[in-house]
Amino acid sequence: MYEKQILICAGTGCISSGAYEVKEALDNELQKNNMEDKVRVILSGCHGFCEKGPLLIVYPEDIFYCEVTGEDMPELVEQHLVNGNIVERLLYKDPNTEQIVSNHEEILFYSKQKRLVLRNCGVIDPENIDEYIIRGGYQGLKNALDKDPSEVVEMIKNSGLRGRGGAGFPAGMKWEFAYRSQGDKKYVVCNADEGDPGAFMDRSTLEGDPHAVLEGIMIAGKAIGSDEAYIYVRAEYPLAIKRLRTAIAQAEEYGLIGENILNSGFNYKVNIKEGAGAFVCGEETALLASIEGERGMPRPRPPFPAVKGLWGKPTCINNVETLANVPLIMRKGVKWFTSVGTEGSKGTKIFALTGKVNNTGLCEVPMGITLREVVFDIGGGIRGGKKYKAVQIGGPSGGCIPESLLDLPIDFDSLTQAGAMMGSGGLVAMDEETCMVDLARYFLSFTQNESCGKCTPCREGTKRMLEILERITEGKGEAEDISRLEKIAVTVKDSSLCGLGQTAPNPILTTLRYFRDEYEAHIYDRRCPAGMCKELLSYYIDPEICNGCRACTKVCPVEAITGEKKEPHVIDEEKCIACGACLDRCKFGAVKTK
């Protein structure tokens, strides 16, 4: 028995903030104090609160320290572990109330969440299968093995579980198609090609609780009659790949993957395929082509992968988060699962909350929660006291939802009605300083770049729309550009081959729907209301602040700034090319924009 257990978050975020250095320093201190046998230090998966990393929790008293460094460890060990005094300066401080909080469940970021899929993330050591088992792991698999495949399919159907990777297709129906398909060989494919910029829930799940995904895969395998799976994971996620490999090796050692699992006669093999960097491979037919070693380009459906998938065999493709829900449903039952969520969207959804909120990170919330609760309670509101403007939800396939819809419940159908979509769950909050036209341009430049080029509407349409948006943000917009954009957007949406093209216009359509005035300001007034589009800004020097240090004159590439030494300077608007170099250079904040 240990007297204390210390959890250090070793998700990618905290590692980059220095979690390993903290661990090393802590180990050293424990050794110095002869406490190694009394205190266990655990590297856990992501706790979600990346903003405040590295995070460290001391159990059993549950004291939550944040933004710790290696240098804090001598004090932490001496004060907290030896003397029993909490180190107050390392506790979390609420950004709005300034109140100090020591218990992590009392922090608003956590208290509003419902962590079901992430229940083990940040709690267990992901590289220790015993911990997963203690937390109820592999009981769902055992239940599934005791059942007839059709019963397993039925359970997932009744649970109302919908795919968490994008469009929200019912997982049970997918399984049923694959179950009914005839074939000597069937595959399960786990889509871990998380390519949406702004989303990292799959990464955190794989890093923090890899066994949950493996268990979900095998339950799917049992249900559809498959004996082999592929996990297609981005090569950009080296830690997720490493933890998955460790988990597979341990499960094999325990007889939970391999031959005759739990003496049931069920055999299973799990392979890992590393993706090579192409957003379109998140589309299921493109993903299959990529596993087969080809260019990852989509093909028309039908035939659906459930009938003709990987190497022509019936294949069931689910995303990481979807599969991580499955063991819970099998263990705790359909009734338990359906008690959370809304009529059409059961269970929870994980969001990657980022952008201009105070608390960024990963949160899991019940379906039906409002955007307001996510942004203002969990996210702690907009940083720097700025004004909230919109959230962008669902990445390049999703859309922007304005302030007027803050009380919109988050579920698959409400979001689609609002013109956005759940997508994979990226949630980027924006304040008054974010230009919505520029944001649409940003997403289009992404989808245009990632368009595989196979079908014309997507290949040409995204290019033309991007050209128009670039023109508008550069102050060269034409009066007809808005109607042109609308026309192309609808065509691309209706006629593209795969999900990438069909959803690529969403960022444009939603910003046009909710923020048309910003487009008009750019086009007619040559003005960017958010003050973000460089070419539309005019720069001036505040004579009250400028002390004539001459620093700006040296960086101006076109010699537009004049003035005597120690006298206020002036910018010649005719010469100025609005590059912003003087603004970045001025230490006194005298250069301003209008």
């Binding site: 990618t12 975020g13 702004g198 990292f200 950009e236 960097g277 190497w311 990657a352 980022t354």
Partner: protein
């Protein structure tokens, strides 16, 4: 006259074909191996040398165009030699909203290369990627396998000097 045949069978004198051959051992007679083979070659050489791709085509009995087709489709593969350290600046949504553009400008100024470029001393290759999934710390970049978060233009110099 068409020269494909010639290109496919040409032999580069100083190229270490035996390295490629030994990498291929794990993959011959298996299906879906093109991407893993290219990943292995890139791991070994740091990029995909043309003779290696031609050799792969010959050994797998497929057209060279097919190998190039796959190699040029994915962002991960590079046909030119790259620097000792690979910088990947994230241009994801969260980083965009939190002002990565200024970091990117500073980086290019500092290194003196454009996106995709390598410094003349072969020390750094500068790339931009869609998202590296560390959005909580935006703006973010990776140098090799290390992640650096909460970037500011003025912090770059100090970070680059560590390499």
């Amino acid at each position: 006259m068409c020269q494909c045949q010639e290109a496919a069978t040409s032999v580069e004198e100083n190229f270490e074909y035996e390295k490629v051959e030994s990498l291929l051992q794990d993959y011959l007679d298996k299906k879906g191996v093109m991407v893993p083979i290219l990943q292995a070659i890139q791991e070994e050489f740091g990029y995909l040398p043309r003779p290696a791709l031609e050799y792969v085509a010959k050994r797998l009995r497929i057209p060279v165009s097919k190998v190039f087709g796959v190699a040029t489709f994915y962002a991960q593969f590079h046909l030119e030699p790259r620097g000792e350290n690979i910088i990947r600046l994230c241009r994801g949504t969260a980083c965009h909203v939190r002002g990565v553009a200024k970091v990117a400008d500073k980086m290019q100024e500092h290194l003196g290369v454009d996106v995709g470029g390598t410094t003349p001393d072969m020390k750094f290759t500068y790339e931009e990627v869609a998202c590296i999934g560390a959005c909580g710390l935006a703006p973010v970049m990776m140098i090799n396998d290390r992640t650096f978060g909460k970037l500011e233009p003025d912090k770059l110099k100090g970070i680059l000097e560590q390499f």
